[in-house]
């Protein structure tokens, strides 16, 4: 058999030539490829000389003495021996048959077919030849060393016959064969080949080498083989290996990515092993299974697969090791990469988004403070160590033992560090979330700290975070409150991470710049500073009282409606925002308090520090001086305040802040019942420390006014009460309780925000007005030569409304709104005639038109509208659908079963609608807006009703200008047509709707306008032209 594999002497010339070229590339092989050495004496042989078949040439050695023959004979003998040995040792011109080799190698005999055949051919001649060459070969020329020849022969064989197979495996499309098989193909091919190479080497060459230095002589062979294999490996091999390793490890360590990794490589898809898809499938189907049962089944399945995978990994590693691909080779590299990746994945899976899971929390409970003090996060380090010992090490150590026996480094710290770094990467990515739920995410920050010791790590943190910030926070969608809240948490977090503030300086600058561009930053911060608990209580009480009154209502229906309204009210943006603001705002104010307490002793120091800040670098006696941290940015200032408040305040212009503060403080003081305002006082004291006393002077005066007012108010009330009592005893004989408690706040006009000192005028309810007059009088008696000016728009009232189906209490009603609702307590004289008693299933109470109210209360339209809106929002008043200037009291709430679309059914005739408009125009004398319609007159109310409607309609037909709805509009229309030339009705309408909305809106639609224009044409004012209406000259 050997002969068939042997280079046939009569090979074609072409092949010889080819071989020569090959020899040119691999010089040693040139001498080795032919069993006959070049140095054959006397030219009796040359390369192309046919060689006698080995069977024929056994004779010279049969007598043994041939080897001992001296002189020129030795060369011949040597070359004969060489020929014999190399003929025996050389490999066939074909790859080994893997399947055959493997199947035969399975039995008791460990050698494959090829080796057994080789052993059969190993006759005594050959042995002697080899022995001769090996012993005397030492003296031979270096190129003729048999070991070297064998090495080259292996290389030749591998390159010529094995490499094409490997390349073919690579060329096969992956989809056709599963990657696992591909890998197996490669590995088994290599294993079989290597086994033969090694076996031949150890069986026929090594025994003779043993006398010299076996290990030293195996090593070069081993290295050469390993390098040639590594050189020939298909380029996909590393990734193939990596995928396979990865799949196995994810299964063994039961990582979540195992499913996809397994399917990717195609593990466990053979019929006897349930595949990953099946597992997924079974979870879908077996939902009816008991949870426990299913868990058990799953667990078993997982265990089984884990065992299988473990087994497979060891097998893989062993075979890789056998072919020299493991230690220092591609195998070890991929193994290390995969272990690293798997570890990273585990860290991500285990810790991502879970800084406070159960075991962490228990530890927290034991020693929250100790946690905070420790430089590293003990909890997560423990978890990592545990995992390392329990899961990863049992896997890695045996493999390492296979790779390099006796040289296993079981040292943990590097691995742990690596894990910790992985963890910190995870945390860096999560930084934004950590900041968002800061106090709970403390352990997460702790995970981050220990690894932040290099500039690079810090850079990674800041840049990752900056990116997330831009993406998630600094955009139009985030409310200022959100941004502020995040910024506050950011300050807190980064102060923990980096006490010097370099990192904060870097990431914070961006947020600060951004917040600077938002108008309401100041507003929100001030809101925060002025936010105290009793606001909430107040809100709650308010809500409660309303709910109670809802309960009182008899009709369930209306209660439901009411609840709906409550919900609707909550949806009103302002209020929702207020609620939302509460927490952040409190945060700022509590922070202010906390900072103050912290720095109570240092107050002067802080002030001093601020003053000395600019001089700090010149203080040459400062022994504590340290340079700025190396990675500090150019704008970094060490002396910048270190607490949150100063971070926030330095962001603002102080004048802007102080103005806003005064505004809000003022609003607040006037909307609270007079009290000591201790919190506000404390706040002002704290702010004085930051902004200086003079800046806060106005605010201090505002507070002083309030505490003065307390005294004045008490005095005035006493005086008024006694007067009232004596009066009531005088008139009715018994002391009557005053219905309304009147309180007075007296403020210094120059020191309050000027927009609050507007003297909006209206007539408060008469009983209040009289009391206020009394107050005026008493004040002048109390404070000599001083007078009061009432700010009627400021202040508030506590109002209770008793409606037919409900009682509502309101704690903070603006005075003007209270005045308006008080007017609604009575019907206007004359009453509005065309209001039905019931609308949309709700009882209709008193109805007033805006003009009537204006007349009665002498209130400006804008203020009036504001008041009415206040009550409309609270479902007390409603707009009369057919006349937008009339509002009525909803004595009972409308029925909820009438759809909103049908609620405003115009069931009155147009004539009636005209009625409400046309009649008042006759009494326009007292109107506020002259062109606008006014229901101002009331003395003629009775007669007005009796006017026959047709007559009015005619009147209107005669002179369209007398229609009040168009009187003002006509001025505009005339102007437009004169200045802009002919215009169509639509165009006129569009322009009018732009101009007239601020004046109370349009009171007609396009069709009516068209009608009006037609009338005007009849009256000779305008002409109709193809391009639209035109003024008639």
């Amino acid at each position: 058999m050997l002969i068939s594999g042997f280079h046939h002497p009569q090979e074609p010339h072409r092949q010889v030539k080819k071989r020569r070229i090959f020899h040119g590339i691999f010089p040693p092989a040139a001498s080795a490829s032919l069993p006959t050495p070049i140095v054959t004496p006397a030219g009796s042989f040359n390369e192309n000389t046919p060689i006698a078949p080995p069977a024929v040439q056994a004779s010279p050695f049969a007598q043994g003495q041939a080897f001992s023959s001296p002189g020129g004979e030795a060369f011949v003998t040597h070359s004969r021996a060489w020929h014999l040995a190399t003929t025996f040792l050389s490999f066939p011109d074909s790859p080994f048959d893997v399947s055959e080799e493997e199947s035969t190698a399975l039995g008791v005999q460990r050698d494959g077919v090829y080796l057994r055949r080789k052993a059969d051919l190993f006759g005594p001649d050959t042995r002697e030849a080899i022995a001769y060459l090996m012993t005397s070969g030492v003296n031979a020329e270096p190129g003729e060393n048999l070991v070297e020849w064998y090495t080259c022969e292996v290389r030749r064989h591998f390159l010529e016959h094995i490499r094409p197979i490997l390349e073919e495996v690579e060329r096969e499309p992956v989809a056709k064969t599963r990657p696992e098989y591909q890998l197996n193909d490669i590995i088994s091919q290599l294993r079989v080949t290597c086994k033969i190479y090694y076996s031949v080497y150890s069986a026929y060459i090594l025994p003779y080498l043993a006398k010299i230095d076996p290990i030293a002589s195996v090593e070069p062979f081993h290295r050469s083989l390993a390098s040639i294999i590594a050189y020939c490996l298909p380029s996909t091999f590393p990734s193939l290996l990596r995928k396979t390793f990865y799949a196995y490890f994810t299964v063994i360590l039961s990582l979540p990515s195992s499913t996809s990794a397994v399917t990717d490589v195609g593990l466990f898809t053979s019929p006897h092993i349930p595949g990953a898809d099946e597992t997924v499938h079974s979870t879908d189907v077996d939902l009816e299974l008991e949870e426990d049962e299913k868990a058990v089944v799953d667990q078993e399945e997982a265990n089984r697969r884990c065992e299988e995978a473990r087994h497979a990994v060891f097998k893989l590693v062993e075979s890789l090791n056998a072919i020299g691909l493991m230690a220092n080779g591609v195998g070890e590299r991929e193994f290390a990469l995969v272990i690293d990746r798997v570890a990273g994945e585990w860290v991500t899976h285990r810790f991502s988004g879970r800084y406070t899971d159960s075991d962490l929390e228990t530890e927290d409970a034991e020693g929250d403070t100790s946690m905070a003090k420790l430089p590293t996060s003990v909890a997560s380090a423990e978890i990592m160590k545990e995992w390392l010992f329990d899961s990863l090490m049992p896997l890695v150590i045996p493999i390492m033992k296979i790779i390099r026996p006796g040289d296993v480094d079981e040292e943990l710290p590097p691995v742990l560090n690596r894990l910790a770094q992985r963890l910190s990467r995870v945390r860096m990515k999560e930084m934004f979330d950590i900041i968002v739920d800061f106090p709970q995410s403390m352990p997460g920050i702790m995970d981050l700290i220990p690894t932040l010791n290099t500039p690079i790590a810090r850079l990674v943190l800041t840049s990752t975070f900056a990116y997330t910030l831009n993406r998630r926070l600094l955009h139009q969608g985030a409310s200022t409150v959100d941004v502020l809240r995040a910024y506050i948490n950011m300050i807190k977090c980064f102060q923990i991470i980096d006490a010097k503030g370099v990192l904060l300086d870097k990431v914070g600058a961006r947020v600060r710049r951004y917040l600077g561009t938002r108008e309401d930053t100041v507003v929100e911060i001030v809101k925060g500073i002025l936010c105290y608990e009793y606001d909430e209580e107040e809100a709650d009480e308010n809500g409660e009282s309303m709910v109670q009154s809802a309960d009182q209502s008899t009709s369930i229906e209306s209660a439901e409606v009411f609840k709906e309204t409550l919900r609707r009210r909550k949806a009103i943006p302002d209020e929702a925002e207020d609620l939302d603001d509460e927490d952040i705002l409190q945060e700022i104010s509590t922070e202010l308090q906390a900072c103050a307490q912290m720095g109570a002793d240092k107050k002067n120091e802080v002030l001093g520090a601020a003053a000395a800040a600019s001089l700090e670098d010149l203080d040459y006696d400062d022994m504590e001086w340290q340079p700025d941290p190396a990675d500090a940015g150019p704008e970094f200032r060490r002396d910048k305040g270190t607490d949150i408040i100063s971070h926030l305040f330095t962001m603002l212009e102080s004048t802007k802040f102080i103005n806003e503060f005064q505004n809000q403080l003022g609003k607040r003081l006037l909307l609270q019942p007079t009290s000591e305002f201790l919190r506000e006082k404390a706040t002002i004291e704290l702010l004085k420390v930051r902004f200086g006393e003079t800046e806060m002077q106005n605010a201090a005066i505002m507070l002083k006014d309030l505490s003065e007012s307390r005294k004045i108010d008490a005095h005035l009330r006493d005086m008024i009460l006694t007067k009232h009592l004596s009066q009531s005893i005088a008139t009715s004989g018994a002391p009557l309780r005053m219905e309304t408690e009147v309180h007075v706040k007296v403020i210094s006009r120059l020191f309050w925000p000027q927009h609050m000192i507007s003297e909006g005028d209206f007539n408060p309810p008469s009983r209040i007005a009289s009391t206020l007059d009394l107050c005026n009088h008493e004040f002048e008696l109390l404070k000599k030569s001083r007078k009061l000016n009432w700010l009627k728009e400021e202040g508030f009232a506590v109002v209770e409304l008793e409606l037919n189906d409900r009682t509502l209490g309101f704690k903070q009603v603006p005075t003007y709104a209270a005045t308006v609702i008080d007017a609604f307590a009575k019907d206007p004289t004359p009453p509005n005639p065309d209001i039905p008693r019931e609308l949309n299933g709700g009882q209709v109470g008193n109805a007033w038109s805006i003009d009537q109210l204006k007349e009665k209360l002498s209130m400006e339209t804008e203020l009036l509208r504001k008041s009415i809106e206040f009550w409309v929002d609270r479902n007390v008043l409603a707009e009369y659908p057919l006349n937008r200037k009339i509002y009525y009291v909803m004595e009972t709430l409308p029925r909820s079963d009438i759809p909103a679309s049908r609620r405003t059914t115009p069931h009155t005739s147009p004539q009636k609608r005209d009625d409400s408009h046309t009649t008042p125009r006759r009494r326009r004398a007292l109107s506020f807006i002259s062109e606008d319609s006014n229901d101002s007159g009331n003395e003629e109310g009775g007669t007005r009703k009796e006017e026959p409607t047709p007559a009015k309609a005619d009147a209107e037909d005669d002179d369209p200008l007398k229609n009040p709805r168009f009187t003002m509009a006509w001025n505009y229309i005339a102007g437009m047509l004169t200045n802009q030339g002919p215009l169509t009705t639509d165009r006129v309408f569009a322009t009018l709707s732009l101009f007239l909305i601020p004046m109370g809106g349009l009171q007609f639609d396009a069709a009516e306008l068209d009608h009006f224009m037609m009338k005007m044409e009849e009256n000779g004012k305008v002409d109709k032209t193809p391009s639209g209406w035109k003024m008639r000259k």
Partner: protein, 85 residues
């Protein structure tokens, strides 16, 4: 509908009921404000009216009168400054 106004918290500004000027002739600050040495207006920094009908912040005129050169004269009209009854 019955409307019960239980409480009414009114707001007013106070002002000095001064016949003539708006500002103190000495410090040129509004009467309703306070003199430069005071922090709080009103009771803490009252006004004073002379017989010559010129009025000043009390603190301002006192420090004026206390000066030698003032000779007790009103800074506005150079008449003897006496407090109006």
């Amino acid at each position: 509908m019955k409307v019960k106004i239980k409480e009414w918290h009114a707001v007013a500004t106070w002002r000095w009921d001064m016949p003539e000027d708006e500002v103190c002739g000495i410090c040129r600050v509004d009467f309703d404000g306070c003199c430069p040495n005071c922090k709080y207006p009103g009771d803490d920094c009252p006004l004073i009216v002379g017989k010559c009908h010129h009025s000043f912040h009390l603190h301002c005129i006192l420090s004026w009168i206390n000066q030698e050169s003032a000779k007790g004269l009103c800074p506005m009209c150079r008449q003897k400054f006496e407090v109006a009854a």
